[in-house]
Every structure is written in C-alpha cells, then in structure tokens.
Amino acid sequence: MVNYDEILSIPPYSMDKDQKHTFLTGVLKELSAHHYENCEGYRRIIDGLSYDIAATESYYDLPCLPVRLFKEYELRSIAEDSVVKTMTSSGTTGQQVSKIFLDREASANQTKTLTKIVSSYLGSTRLPMIILDTSAIVKNRAMFSARGAGILGFQMFGRDKIYALNENMELDVEGLTAFLEKHKGEDIFLFGFTFMIWQHFYEELKKSGYRPDLSRGILIHGGGWKKLVDKKVSPAEFKAALRDVCGIQRVYDYYGMVEQTGTIYMECECGHLHASIFSDVITRRASDFSVCEKGEKGLIEVVSVLPKSYPGHALLTEDEGIVLGEDDCPCGRKGKYFSILGRIKNAEVRGCSDTYATKFK
C-alpha cells in the first residue's frame, strides 16, 4: 500500500517529467484499486465505465470524477466511525457544499504535505504571522470550512499570530501597530484569502490612510480570483495596489481546493503556479476531454497522491487554465507550471474568497 512517509521524504520539486510520470502512475493506480475495494460509489463508476484499473499504464488514463459529485454524494473509503474530520467547501448559503471525510492518517498527511510545499518557499523557521481575516472563522472546530482549514493549515508556519480583522471584519489598527513595533526588523508572514484581502485590508487601508510598514512581509494568498476579475483587478494590479499601501514586495498566490487539501499549487518568483511531485494538473478539451497542448486553454483535471479516505485522487474541476511549460521554469523548480483563467461559464460560484464575496453584490 502507499507509503506516505517515503513519499513525503522526496523534495517537492525534484522530479523531471518521466520520473514523475512513473511515480504518480504507480501511486494513483494503487489508490484507485484501494477506492475500488473500499468505496461502493467509486466501484460502481469504474464498473459502469468498464475501466480496468490493473491495466493502467498512465495516470492520464484514470477516470476522473467531477468535483460536483462530492456535493451530491457522501463518498468515503473508510468506516464511518474512523472519520475524525469532515471538511466542507465554502459554498454560499443555499448552495450545496462538498463533504470530504478524513481519518487520522489522511488528516495528518495533508498537514505534512502542505508543510513540505510551503517550507520550500518560507524555510522551516517560523515567522511572526498576521492572518488577514477574522478570528470568528475558526469557531466550530469539528466542521471546517475550506477557509478555516486554510487558515489553520498555514498557522503552522507562523508564531505569535494575530488576526488583522476583528469579529466585525474591521481592521484592528491598534493591534497591528503594536505587533509591527514588537517585530520591527523581522520578516513577517501574512496569510489570507484574495478577495478578503482586497475588500477588508487593501480597501480599508486606502480609505483610512493608515500605512503599516510591511516591506519585510511575505504574503501567501489563495481562494479564487473570480470576484476580483469582476472588479477588473488583475493579479499584477493586486500586487501593485498592496505594495502602494503597505510596501509589501513578496506576494504569492496559490491554487488549491478542499477536495485535495494539502497538495496546493504555489506561485513562484516568476509568477507561475507550480505542481509539486505530490500532485499534477492536466488540461483537457471540453469537447472530448482529450489532453490539451502546452499553451492551449482547457478544463483542469487535478490528481493528488493524498486522498485515501475518499476517492478524490483524480478530479475534474470547473476551472479553466493553461499549462505553460514543464521542468523549465526560470525559478528552477521542476514539474508543470500553469496559470488559471477562471471558472467555466455557468459553473457555481465557489472558492473561499469568492463565496464570501457574493454578500457584496
């Protein structure tokens, strides 16, 4: 069976295309067989497609489930009583949410994987941390929204944490001033969701005239661009606007989803999202689901070695993107690099910051 300790000892951006293909095919094939054995819903899909898991030669050929399926069905490959955590996508009110069931092993491996990936950007020393969100978000401990899980997962990289927003989503100027005074001259780690940062941090700073010095800050943000696209804010403008109000230079986006928590895709110094060896993206043509060429826009399939407690190891998302290249990004990291163009038309609003944003319409 899949040996996660061994997998997690491999540096996250160390394999070239062929090595990674062999590695992922092996792991994902094993996971498929595991889910076939242990999840009735998955077995019925595979049987319905008459797919032969044992004959798989490439992970590109494995059937991928539409992410929507996790909203309509409770899919799990573990006994109900070994579920320690249920994660939900951040649906707006009235929307159905995905439910992802984790046992202890799955939950621990998500955290470990996230750490491997993010440490390659932040190092293993923990930095003073500002969470650009409200403390109200992690109140219910048993039922994690994607936003709460993101905040908790990233707390591992911080110390002496503060939330920049109070329970009413207002900027805590006093708290921030004291915090920055205390950590003068140190690098500061900031984390938040894209739209939340724009609406409650950037807009508030612009309005208030308060200009905290975050020139030593490193911001990691994620959760979807759709709402900022609606506001005609591009990633470049987002970075420039933040630099204007607080002097921050190092700003990295990431792409990820609750159905594959842990294996996120971090933006590098060159502005590209990167796949680690623990996961991959495949762009597909909507007409026949064949694989796109490099540079061609397509629907995004994501595969991840982590989902073992639920059959989410190969998923078709509702996002469109472009694979820009593989193994040759100037930042030096191996693996595919890509960009996300947004959600396909008529797809639901989802994404941690996007669902929140529907309140502001």
């Binding site: 955290t111 440490s119 293993s124 923990r126 908790l152």
Partner: protein, 78 residues
C-alpha cells in the same frame, strides 16, 4: 516548577485534561487535541520553555510521549 510540571501543565491547560489522562495521550485521540488544540499546545509549551519549535517538530509532535523526545532537541529534559 520542574520541567515535567511545566510540560504537564501545558497539556492540562490546552486540552482540559487531568494528570492521570496524560500517559498515552495522542494527537486526535481526544476531541480537544485537534489541529486547533495542537497549535494552542505548541504556543503554551513555547511560552513555558521559552523556545521556538521548527515546523517539522510541530508536525512530529504526535503524542504526550513523543513530545518529550522533541523537547529534548531543544535541550529541555522532561
């Protein structure tokens, strides 16, 4: 206070458990030792011993007993 007392107090405060519950206690073994409780425990220990743990050590900190080994790396003998 001895190091053992400091160590035990952090667990008792973080998870609301009694001295007798500590031996054999594991991450995710009780409702309060979840990921939120875990980070609370880490910051209580860091304050009590005036140390800063590496990210990898926070993740490896999987039980009451394992934690003692990890603190030994920071020259804190429990």
């Amino acid at each position: 206070m001895t190091n053992l007392e400091l160590y035990n107090n952090a667990f008792k405060e973080a998870f609301g458990v009694e001295e007798a519950d500590l031996a054999g206690l594991e991450y995710q073994g009780i409702a309060n030792w979840d990921s939120v409780g875990h980070m609370n425990l880490v910051s209580l220990l860091e304050d009590a011993f005036d140390i800063m743990m590496d990210t990898d050590d926070i993740i490896d900190f999987s039980s009451y007993e394992k934690g003692k080994e990890i603190l030994a790396k920071y020259e804190k003998t429990i």
